[in-house]
Amino acid sequence: MFEAILLTIVTAATPLVIAAVGELVTERAGVLNLGVEGMMIMGAVCAFAGSYLTGVPVLGVLCGILGGAAFSLLFGFLTLTLVANQVATGLALTLLGLGLSGQIGESFVGIPGVKLQPIVVPVLSDIPFIGRLLFAQDITFYLSIALVVGVHWFLFRSRTGLKMRAIGDNHGSAHALGIHVVRTRYLAVMFGGACAGLAGAQLSLVYTPQWVENMAAGRGWIALALVVFASWRPWRVLAGGYIFGAVGILQLHAQALGIGIPSQFLSMLPYAVTIVVLIIISHNRRTTLINTPACLGKPFVPDR
C-alpha cells in the first residue's frame, strides 16, 4: 500500500515539477510568465490531439511540447519584442489558452485516451521497494528528473547558463558585455512553454488519459508558486513538487482513514504550507538576494 501511495504521489507531482522547472528557467532569465496555466492547457489539448490523430502517444508528447512552446512565443513577442507588461500579458495568455484549448478540444471530449505506456528498465526495476517506483515509469517521469538535473547543470555549471543568470540579475550590464539579452530570453520563454506543454501532455496522456476542458484545474498556478517556494533552485523544485503532491494525496488518505478535519481545511494545507515555507526561505534577506533574479519582470529595451 505504501508503494502504491508513493506511485500516486509521483504521478501528481510530475506535472508540477516539469512546469515549474520550465518556469524557473524563464524566471532565471528575468522574465515572469504568469501564463503557465494557459500554456499547460494548450499542451494538454495538443498532446491529446497528437496522440489521438496519430495513434502514437509518444508523438502526442511531442505535440504537447511543441504546442506549449509555440504558444509561449506569443507571450515572448509581446513582452520581449514589444515590451508589454509581463503580468498582464501572462494573465491574458492564460485567458486565451483556456478559450482556445476549449475550442480546439471540442471534438475530443468523451473520447477515451490512450495511456502513455511505462518504460520498464530491466534489472533495475526489480530492486525491491524503489524499483517499480523509479524504473518502471512513463517517459514524462524520466524527463522530469532529467530536466531537474539538466537545468541544474545548465544554470550553475555551463557558460551559457551563467550568461543567462547574468541577464536575469542585471540585463543592462549583460547587454553591455555583449550578451544577446532578447534572444536568450526568447529561448528561455520557449523553454518554459515547452516544459509547460510537456506537463500538459502528462495530464492528458498519463495522469488522466482524456481531454476535458480546463483539465489543468489550477496546476499551472501551483507550479508558479513552486518556483518561488524553491527559491529558483532546480533541486528544491523537485523536493517542493513532491511535497505539494504528497500533501494533496495524503489529505485524501486522511479522509479515507476517517480523520475528522473539515476537508476544506485539508485542501488549504498546500497553500498555507507554501506561505510558511516562503517566510522561512525569505526572511533572511541575504539568501533571497542570492537566489532571486533581480531583473524579474522588468522590461528591457536595448539602447543603440
Binding site: 476549449g102 471530449v109 488522466t208 476542458e213 483539465m215 494525496i249 479522509q255 482513514l257
Partner: protein, 357 residues
C-alpha cells in the same frame, strides 16, 4: 470595392431580416441555461442531450436556445432575464445555484414559465424538478455488495449537500440489504469537476482497500483509474462504458429528455402548472446503463430491484434504518418522507466516514 459594398449591403439586409424574422416566427422558444459547458461529459452534457431530444421530438413547434457556462450568482440573474426578454416561453435553469436568481426573474416576468432543477423554491410560474438518483444508488449498492470480495466499497463524493449524502446512504442501504456488514468508505474531493483530483481520490480509496468504486463527480477519470487497477466501478450521469469496457457494472444515466418533452408538451397544450416534481426510475428521468461485467444472478437481482422500485413495491429508504451512531431513525416498514430526504444531513449506520459539518 463595388463587390465589397454589395456584400456589405447584403449583410445589412440579412441583419434587418434577422430582427424582422424573429418577430414573424411562430415557433415557441424553450430555453436552457447551463452552469457548465455542454460537453463537460457529466451534469450539463446530460441536460444538453435532453434538450437535443426535446428538439428532435418537437422540433417543428419549438426552438431551444441555450446559454453555457453561466456562473451562479448575479450573472445567472442577468442570463435568465435575457432569456425571458428574448421571447422564451419556458426557461429551464439547470443548476441548484440558479435558484434565487430564477425566483427573482420569475417574479418579474409573470407570463414566462420557469423550471428550476434540484431546488426547493417555487412560485405560480416557477416549477421545480429533480430526479430520484438515490433509486439508482440503491441498485448500485446491492450490486457492489455482491461483487465486492472485501466487503468494502469506495465513494468519491463532491460536496456534502443533501443530494450527495442521500446517494451515499442509499448505496449503503442497498449494500446492506445483501451483506449486513458491508462498509462504505467516502472521500470528499471538494470538486464536481477536476479529473486529476478525482483520479487521486480514486487511487486513495483503492489503496485503502476498496474493490468497488462509485462516484458523485462528473468526469470519467475515476472509471479510468478503476480500469487500470483492475477493480470494478459505476458510472455517473452518463454511460461511461467507453472509459471502462471491462470495469463498468452499470451507471446512473440522467435522461432528462423524457421529462423535458413531457413538460414542454404541457406548455404547448396549455396544461402547464407549477409543480414540485421529483421523478424517478419509473418516469424515465434516470435510467440504468446496461448491467455488464457481472454474473447472471447478480444481473437478475439488479433487474428485479429495478423493477420493484419502478412498480413502487420497494422504496430504498424503508425502515428499520438506524442512523450512523446507532440511534433509530425509521421504524420497521416506515418510509422516509421526501422533505427529510431533501434535507438529509446525516449518515445511516455502516458508512465509514464522518460527515463534514
Amino acid at each position: 470595392m463595388k463587390k465589397l459594398i454589395i456584400a456589405l449591403a447584403a449583410t445589412a439586409a440579412t441583419l434587418g431580416s434577422f430582427t424582422v424574422g424573429a418577430e414573424a416566427q411562430e415557433k415557441t422558444k424553450v430555453c436552457f441555461i447551463y452552469v457548465g459547458t455542454k460537453t463537460d461529459g457529466g451534469w450539463t452534457q446530460a441536460h444538453d442531450l435532453g434538450r437535443q431530444e426535446l428538439q428532435k421530438a418537437l422540433g417543428d413547434k419549438i426552438e431551444t436556445p441555450y446559454l453555457e457556462s453561466v456562473p451562479e450568482g448575479p450573472d445567472a440573474e442577468r442570463a435568465i432575464e435575457r432569456m425571458a426578454r428574448s421571447g422564451c416561453s419556458l426557461v429551464y435553469a439547470t443548476s441548484f445555484g440558479f435558484m434565487d436568481a430564477t425566483v427573482k426573474v420569475a417574479a418579474k416576468f409573470p407570463k414566462v414559465k420557469f423550471e428550476h432543477a434540484t431546488g426547493f423554491k417555487a412560485a405560480e410560474n416557477l416549477a421545480t424538478y429533480n430526479s430520484r438518483f438515490y433509486e439508482g444508488r440503491y441498485i448500485q449498492g446491492q450490486i457492489a455488495a455482491k461483487m465486492s470480495k472485501k466487503g468494502v466499497a469506495g465513494y468519491i463524493a463532491s460536496f456534502p449537500i443533501p443530494e450527495v449524502v442521500m446517494g451515499i446512504n442509499a448505496f449503503e442501504l442497498g449494500a446492506k440489504s445483501v451483506n449486513p456488514d458491508f462498509k462504505l468508505k467516502v472521500v470528499w474531493a471538494n470538486t464536481w469537476f477536476d479529473p486529476g483530483k478525482e483520479a487521486d481520490a480514486a487511487k486513495a480509496l483503492i489503496d485503502q482497500g476498496v474493490d468497488v468504486l462509485t462516484q458523485h463527480t462528473d468526469t470519467t477519470a475515476p472509471m479510468q483509474v478503476a480500469a487500470e487497477r483492475g477493480i470494478l466501478a459505476f458510472g455517473q450521469a452518463s454511460d461511461m462504458i467507453a472509459a471502462g469496457p471491462k470495469t463498468q457494472l452499470t451507471a446512473i444515466v440522467d435522461t432528462w429528455g423524457a421529462y423535458y418533452i413531457k413538460r414542454t408538451k404541457a406548455l404547448l397544450d396549455g396544461t402547464w402548472k407549477s409543480e414540485q416534481i421529483w421523478d424517478g426510475l419509473k418516469d424515465g428521468i434516470l435510467t440504468m446503463a446496461p448491467y455488464t461485467n457481472m454474473p447472471d444472478d447478480v444481473k437478475a437481482m439488479a433487474e428485479e430491484t429495478e423493477a420493484k422500485i419502478k412498480s413502487g413495491e420497494l422504496h430504498p429508504f424503508t425502515g428499520p434504518i438506524n442512523k450512523q451512531d446507532g440511534s433509530a431513525w425509521l421504524k420497521a416498514g416506515e418510509k422516509a418522507e421526501d422533505g427529510v430526504l431533501l434535507g438529509m444531513n446525516f449518515y445511516v449506520q455502516g458508512v465509514d466516514d464522518k460527515l463534514p459539518q
